[in-house]
């Protein structure tokens, strides 16, 4: 089981990154996810869903994404995660966390998220849903 | 009850608001604006003199339910034609009302407590009003008029 998560801003700029047990391909993660952005950008206008399952893969890693109504993209690159439903719920809660960050008066949209509290909570979420 | 006239004095005795209700028919003379200032200042002084004359009380007057803090100052002036009541808040704002004969002290006090409430809403919460300056707030005037008609 392994997971790489990236939050991507509206100008395709990275806002936040986290990885757990991605050692073999750690350095490529950003590139792999970045290349999947085109796919999700094609898909996002064809449906009113926010969650995009398995849009791409690399070796035996899969990529899923979630697009917030404000066009911020949550991308994950993963291997052997528990279930599809867990991923969906993970994205839902992650969105709540992101909204709370957005509500902080000192945070502006598309700014890198440096908050330690946010990082901790995201890691808690991945423990909760994926046992990581 | 019939309110004939209303005065608001700031804590130093300056007149910040004066209004006669139904000036044509209410049987109270109109004065020049300068005279109103003098009236206000005089009442303020007499109020303080009366308070100074009153010896300290051992047992404070029983608590009232209106927020009127005027306990030992000039409280009421009676004349042939009208009564005048003075109400004072903890911040030193004086509300003076001149009412028809026969209006009870409780009724007048309640009226003035309501004026205080309107003052706190429409004067103090007006961001462009400067403390202790004459009140030129139209909303306040309208509300006071409504209140005087309703009382």
């Amino acid at each position: 089981m392994s997971l790489y998560l990236a939050l991507i801003g509206t100008r395709d700029n990275p806002l936040y990154e986290m990885e757990i047990k991605m050692d073999p391909i750690r350095d490529f993660c950003p590139f792999i996810v970045h290349s999947a952005l085109d796919i999700i950008e094609d898909l996002q206008w064809k449906t009113n869903q926010l969650y995009f399952k398995n849009i791409d893969n690399y070796d035996n890693y899969s990529i899923s994404g979630y697009v917030t109504p404000g066009n911020i993209k949550f991308m994950i690159l993963y291997q052997n995660l528990r279930s599809d439903e867990a991923i969906r719920q993970f994205f839902g809660e992650l969105n709540d966390l992101y909204v709370k960050t957005l509500l902080s008066p000192f945070y502006t949209i598309n700014e890198a998220i440096r908050s330690k509290a946010f990082d901790q909570k995201v890691r808690m979420l991945s423990r909760k849903y994926f046992n990581l | 009850m019939k309110v004939l006239s209303l005065y608001l004095l700031n804590k130093s005795g300056g007149l910040i608001y004066q209004r006669d209700f139904n000036p044509e028919s209410n049987g109270i003379n109109k004065l020049s604006s300068n005279d109103y200032l003098i009236t206000a200042g005089t009442l303020h002084s007499i109020h303080a003199i009366v308070a100074g004359l009153t010896p300290p009380v051992l047992y404070p007057i029983q608590e009232n339910q209106t927020g009127n803090q005027n306990q030992t100052g000039l409280f009421q002036v009676e004349t042939e034609k009208f009564n005048l009541f003075i109400y004072q808040t903890l911040t030193g704002l004086k509300i003076i009302s001149i009412v028809q004969k026969g209006v009870s002290q409780e009724t007048a006090t309640r009226f003035m407590a309501n004026v205080h409430s309107i003052y706190s809403d429409y004067v103090m919460k007006n961001p462009f009003y400067t403390l202790d300056m004459p009140i030129k707030c139209q909303l306040f005037s309208n509300k006071v008029l409504l209140l005087s008609e309703a009382s």
Binding site: K100, S104, P105, F106 | K11, Q71, G92, H116, M124, L131
Partner: protein, 190 residues
């Protein structure tokens, strides 16, 4: 002897105050503070001062509303003042009741501990290593208390001593009574 301030506070809050959406309020205050920080180039001492003076202007006005709605008379001592500030004042305007703590032996100083601070929900201070040391995010409260108390002739020093936002275990405001402005107490009050 002690009056049921808790009940009075709840009654006033429930029946006699206008209410707004708390998130609108929090976000409005947040954008004011953030804008001040930008305007003063993150000179947080200036921001603190500015927040306090804004609060002062609110306090000297708000006290009138407080008196009109509660009909309170003058407090017998500073302990009573503390009770009223916490159980009625904060309850009425912010729907929270801070704990009064650490009353000094001379009865002139106490701390208000805010278990929950509606101004600071969602807030994370800027991570420039300066804000957590210098900025008192909710400093407007200091000004409000100072202004309001001054209008009822109490000269009080008010300051924040702790803030959860800075990583402290609680949010605390210290109030110290300097003097009662006896000369300014309006005549006629018994």
């Amino acid at each position: 002897m002690s009056k049921p301030y808790k009940l009075i506070g709840e009654d006033v809050y429930k029946n006699r105050t206008e209410k707004i959406n708390s998130e609108l309020f929090t976000l409005t205050y947040g954008s004011v503070v953030a804008q001040l920080c930008r305007d003063y180039n993150n000179d947080y001492k200036k921001v603190n001062e500015q927040l306090e003076s804004m609060g002062y202007n609110i306090g000297i006005r708000l006290i009138e509303e407080f008196l009109a709605k509660t009909n309170f008379g003058r407090c017998i001592n500073f302990k009573e003042t503390a009770e009223i500030i916490s159980k009625v004042g904060f309850k009425m305007f912010l729907n929270t009741t801070p704990t009064v703590d650490n009353f000094s032996a001379d009865g002139k100083q106490f701390n208000l501990i805010l278990e929950d601070n509606p101004l600071a929900e969602f807030v994370e201070l800027p991570d420039d290593n300066k804000a957590v040391k210098e900025l008192w995010y909710s400093n407007v409260l200091v000004g409000v208390l100072k202004g309001a108390l001054q209008m009822v002739q109490l000269d009080v020093d008010v300051s924040f001593v702790k803030d959860i936002l800075r990583g402290d275990p609680s949010t605390e405001i210290k109030l110290r009574l300097n003097k009662i402005l006896k000369d300014e107490i309006p005549a006629g009050e018994d």
